[in-house]
Assembly symmetry: C2
Homo-oligomer: 335 residues x 2
């Protein structure tokens, strides 16, 4: 019996999405919405865990990320786009799953360990941040998701989710929650324009999906190339050169790209030529997304209606699971 897979994925709403998201997840979701039942989570509540005092940034970006979704081709009739904080069943499920994992186990979670270092929390970890893998497990299991697209740094989160699923089902002696599989994205990660491994809004090295022609231009101008390639005639290095990393993704003519690389290596090819070429490609990729984004942004009311419909649908699904969860725990006192 092969059932339609259920996908749960989404984004923290801390800023508009960028090209890295587009290649890393958005494009795949546009495909997957035809093959699976896809839930897209706007993770505002999760974003709050490490944005205390910056809640307005988090809530303002809910609609920005939703605009990016739609502009990139997500169809709200096919994918259920919803706001995490409005599905309070997720907080409820988190509460019950929290009893099934120890503090020590959460502290051992490699993803959490990494992020604690990244955010400089050390011993001052907000409790909400420590338990966010549990909240993530609730997000996944509330929709009985079977597939969760992740980067390989997120694999420990999936493992922890499935541990909780098994513990819960064992505790109530019933198969209520469903284990999920990680789907590793095949796409190469886009580096930041500054040459850092990861494109990230907070690092200021990203190109937003709604970037203006001028913003694209500027980002490409500051793009990291080969710092030793001082004169056009010098031989240049392709590896670690951000412009080539981008061309690898956006130049469809591979023969032409190979020729450019060879030319660059032996010298005589200036960065500006390459950047002009990349600029053309990026302008072409972003222009229709930006236009659609601008069109959609004009009717904020309709965007909110779309989000409300998605959120209602998500609540219904989560409430069904919670009713089973509470039933299994004996918590359905009123039938």
């Amino acid at each position: 019996m092969s059932q339609t897979p259920i996908i749960l994925t989404g984004d923290r709403t801390t800023g508009p999405l960028h090209l890295g998201h587009y290649l890393g997840s958005l494009r795949a979701r546009v495909q997957l919405q035809n093959e699976a039942k896809q839930f897209l989570l706007l993770a505002d509540a999760q974003a709050m865990t490490d944005n205390v005092g910056k809640h307005q940034k988090v809530t303002d970006n809910v609609i920005e990320v939703a605009l990016d979704y739609l502009a990139a081709g997500i169809d709200p009739e096919k994918s259920t786009i919803f706001i995490q904080s409005q599905v309070i069943e997720l907080a409820e499920l988190t509460q019950y799953l929290m009893n099934l994992v120890t503090v020590a186990r959460l502290e051992r979670n490699p993803t959490i360990k990494q992020e604690i270092v990244l955010r400089g929390f050390e011993r001052d970890i907000p409790a909400g941040f420590l338990v966010y893998p549990v909240s993530q497990a609730a997000d996944i299991t509330a929709f009985k998701a079977t597939l969760v697209p992740v980067g390989d740094d997120q694999l420990p989160m999936i493992e922890q989710t499935n541990e909780l699923v098994r513990k819960f089902n064992n505790t109530v002696d019933k198969q209520v929650l469903v284990e999920c599989k990680a789907v590793l994205s095949a796409v190469t990660r886009l580096p930041g324009v500054d040459g850092k491994a990861k494109m990230s809004k907070s690092l200021g090295n990203a190109i937003a999906l709604g970037a203006s022609p001028d913003e694209i231009n500027k980002a490409i101008k500051m793009m990291y190339t080969d710092p030793n390639h001082l004169r056009v005639d010098d031989p240049g290095q392709v590896e670690g050169n951000v412009v080539f990393a981008f061309l690898d993704v956006f130049e469809p003519d591979t023969a032409k790209l190979d020729e450019l690389k060879a030319h660059y290596r032996r010298g005589g090819l200036g960065d500006s030529v390459l950047k002009r070429l990349l600029n053309e490609h990026l302008q072409d990729v972003i222009a229709p997304i930006r236009a659609e984004r601008e069109r959609l942004a004009k009717d904020r009311g309709e965007m909110l209606n779309m989000l409300r419909r998605g959120t209602d649908k998500a609540r219904e699904a989560a409430a069904r699971t919670l009713s089973e969860v509470k039933g299994a725990l004996g918590l359905n006192y009123f039938g």
Copy 2:
């Protein structure tokens, strides 16, 4: 402007209540329901945090504790009796408050420290258990309670709650949540029948509020007295003697009690005489409670209706607070 105080108090639903509860809290609540707006929490969700796998015990006892409340004189028209797990706004508020406290701060909480030792958790603390002070803060603040009756061992919980209130209000720059005051109960704590400092169902040294005449008899028979008072003629010790600790509470004639103590000290007064006296008093105290309890227990449907009405009322109050909380955080997207 002196407003009616709002009280939040309640019990974990891990077993029926006993005489210790009656003296320590129940009697006071019967008084307080005339002077304050009183919310009585049946803390099933909190009891789950350290009763994984024993969820049926927790849910079965919801109605038992409610029966104890009513039998002891709580009037559901005056006090709002509700089931914690059914007010999911409490899980929602917990989620937001969790971001405002660090793991280290929770681990420093003296009450939590004590209970971790008591339960033998050490490093295997369930995450849900570690954050239960936050959940307790949510219970209190969701109802904007101004008074919380506690034992002195619970004072750190009140302090933590008020810390969270101040942090939340500072974060949103608005007075949304309300600080509370601890009300220390004046009543002496009743020891266990075995001489242990605390009467507790789980220690097996309690006399239930619904105890049968025979159960009361048996409990008094096994009551710890003076182990060196072997023969009636021996001088006996009053201090640490459980029968006298009980008589201090239940013998209204203090002159008579003083005479009995003097007689016991100089010798010639047997334990059985004292136990007979105590038995008369306890039978008198418990008989009407037990009778009322039995009467109420016959109509389980009406008990559930009462609980549903209380829970609905509690949800309304909590939902009002949550709407303010979410509004202050910018989370009221849909108005």
